[in-house]
């Protein structure tokens, strides 16, 4: 058998610098794309995780008329006596934890500064509150019977100049449509790593929040976390009840789910664009080789080499270039992703809030699948691109190729 790769390898060595440079172009493209893929995935993963952990949970049970955007604590929108339902839901084996929460709107003011916030009444002991407990920057977490303690986020504490032990005034929109006002003492300051979230929310113990807002024995929702979020539909079906609405995470985060689903398509488009550029570099290199080796191709044809064998020779060259470039690029891309996957990339508060929460620091996360996908795509595109110069070489008439020989 004719060893195309041996010849191809030597041909690449003829213009070592040129070969290395075009291999490097492909390597850089691959590294960049691998990093982008890792970044994208890290972002999606973090955004999904953060949003579910902080915002929506995996399932929420609400009153049939509840509207999460209104933050109304009028009784008609709330669940009465949620405790019994909580116990029943927690009995389901797929459920990790379920806890009632009350959401109200209010204003925090200190001296002459005031900022609008969401007031969330929580059962302090519930493990659903771990992100806040673990994120405690200073002070203590709330206890269930605390009557004047409040927990605030780090960005809010910063902008109002508040420290643990300081006093603030909290205004609340009450159940009967009035406004009430009371002083609280900062028990603790937390940071979840998502400034957009932390700057707009304060926590009270559920009992205090209920008393303060006039919600009494009502809650806005039962917040449920599952062991496995894929079980959400099954669990939601199991806990349907008259007068309630049961919402799963995918229903509550339609935008996020959509973005997630399309992220692969986005990545593919970016891949094609970048690889298209690197492919032109490779095509260019091969075209140069074809023109330089016109006479050589003529000789090979003269001694009986066929068109497809000449194509194979150039494709072998492109494959070697692709393999080298992609291997090196993947190594770089992996190293970059691994390094930044550890230290993270700081973006700060991107100002996204509500439907999609992002951590201030994004940790690239490279999956095996996306790495392999990229490598295969890069290889195929490079080899496909080199078909053009290879065919061009194969179509040279031996006479023309040998022209200038005498």
């Amino acid at each position: 058998m004719l060893n195309y790769f041996k010849i191809a390898y030597r041909n690449l060595g003829r213009h070592r610098r040129r070969s290395i440079l075009s291999g490097l172009a492909l390597a850089m493209g691959t590294a960049l794309l691998m990093f982008i893929a890792a970044f994208f995935q890290g972002e999606m993963r973090s955004s999904m995780e953060t949003t579910l952990r902080l915002n929506t949970g995996h399932i929420q049970v609400q009153d049939a008329d509840y509207d999460p955007d209104k933050l109304s604590v009028a009784w008609e929108y709330l669940i009465e006596n949620p405790q019994q339902a909580v116990v029943q839901i927690e009995a389901l084996e797929q459920v990790q934890t379920a806890t009632p929460r009350l959401m109200a709107s209010g204003i925090v003011s200190v001296l002459d500064e005031s900022i609008g916030v969401q007031i969330m009444g929580i059962v302090p002991d519930s493990e659903a509150n771990d992100p806040y407990r673990d994120g405690l920057v200073s002070g203590e977490f709330l206890t269930a019977d605390d009557r004047e303690g409040i927990l605030i986020g780090y960005p809010l504490a910063e902008s109002l100049g508040l420290e643990v032990g300081d006093q603030l005034t909290l205004l609340v929109n009450t159940s009967d449509g009035d406004v009430d006002e009371q002083n609280f003492r900062v028990r603790g300051v937390f940071s979840t790593g998502t400034s957009a979230y932390d700057k707009g929310i304060v926590f009270l113990p559920l009992a205090k929040a209920q008393a303060f807002s006039g919600a009494e024995n009502h809650a806005s929702m039962i917040f449920i976390l599952l062991h496995d979020r894929e079980q959400a539909d099954a669990v939601a079906d199991a806990i349907q009840g008259e007068g309630y609405q049961v919402k799963t995470w995918s229903e509550m985060n339609e935008l996020l789910v959509l973005v997630n689903d399309f992220s692969n398509a986005y990545l593919m488009i970016i891949n094609l664009i970048v690889l298209g550029v690197t492919a032109t570099v490779i095509i260019n290199t091969l075209l140069m080789s074809v023109f330089e080796r016109t006479r050589e191709i003529g000789i090979l044809t003269a001694i009986g080499m066929k068109g497809r064998q000449i194509i194979a020779l150039f494709l072998a060259e492109a494959s070697l270039l692709a393999l080298g470039g992609i291997a090196f690029g993947s190594l770089m891309g992996w190293a970059l992703s691994a390094y930044f996957g550890k230290v993270g990339i700081y973006f700060g508060d991107l100002g996204i809030s509500g439907d999609m929460l992002l951590q201030d620091r994004i940790y690239p996360y490279l999956t095996f699948d996306s790495a392999v996908n990229l490598m295969i795509t890069a290889f195929i595109i490079t080899v496909l691109a080199s078909i053009y110069p290879a065919r061009m070489a194969s179509r040279m008439e031996p006479v023309e190729a040998l022209h200038g020989s005498n």
């Binding site: 010849i7 030597r10 060595g13």
Partner: protein, 231 residues
């Protein structure tokens, strides 16, 4: 036996509007075992004629029959097939593949003909010995002198035991000594194996080796020592 028979062959090159009649109605028959020289001034059509005999090119009109086989309607791949078993080429420039060693250059046509490794090795060594290059087997072309490169080219042309070897001014870029050596080798191979040689040249030192001299002028055969005697 005829190795090649060309009948009333013309070849017109067209570059843009300019037409060049490189051959203008040439008929020639090459017999087996000939050692024939094509002579004539530069531009007279020697290379064009060799390329037609060698199936590297196709005539504008006329017929080319190689080993009794009509080639007029063969496509590019069929012509490549015909060449690789029956015709060897030696060019004026030392047409070796620069990335391959002397050994690998001679081996290439054998690879293209699907010969097995043992056969290849035997044949390559035999040929390199015949052209006196046993001490340069694994050298690359750039490590060889012009004469050595041309000897490798001759060995390569002979590799597949072709019936005919076409050499286009094989000594033009060689000094007298190396030129003589190439001619001696070709003559010896012609004697020993009976392979037909046709070479284009305008070097008198080469012409004297030929046992048939065909003279070309402006795309026409003006003299053929073969028919001279008869007519």
């Amino acid at each position: 036996m005829e190795v090649a028979k060309l009948t009333d062959v013309t070849r017109v090159y067209k570059i843009g509007e300019v037409e060049t009649r490189a051959l203008n109605g040439v008929s020639i028959t090459i017999g087996s075992g000939e050692f024939t020289s094509l002579v004539g001034p530069s531009g007279s059509g020697k290379t064009t004629l060799l390329q037609l005999i060698g199936c590297l090119d196709q005539p504008t009109s006329g017929r080319v029959v190689i080993n009794g086989k009509e080639t007029t309607n063969l496509n590019r791949n069929q012509r490549a097939d015909l060449r690789k078993g029956t015709i060897g080429f030696v060019f004026q420039f030392f047409a070796l593949i620069p990335t391959l060693t002397a050994y690998e250059n001679v081996e290439m046509p054998l690879l293209l003909n699907g010969k097995n490794p043992a056969e290849r090795k035997h044949r390559v060594m035999e040929l390199l010995e015949a052209v006196d290059l046993m001490d340069r087997v694994h050298h690359r072309p750039d490590q060889l002198s012009g004469g050595q490169q041309q000897r490798v080219a001759v060995a390569r042309a002979l590799a597949t035991n072709p019936t005919m070897i076409l050499a286009d001014e094989p000594t033009a870029n060689l000094d007298t000594t190396n030129g003589e050596q190439i001619m001696d080798i070709m003559k010896k191979l012609n004697h020993e194996t009976g392979v037909t040689f046709v070479f284009a040249t305008h070097d008198p030192r080469v012409i004297k080796h030929a046992n048939r001299v065909v003279t070309l002028q402006d795309g026409l055969i003006t003299n053929d020592s073969n028919t001279n005697g008869k007519s």
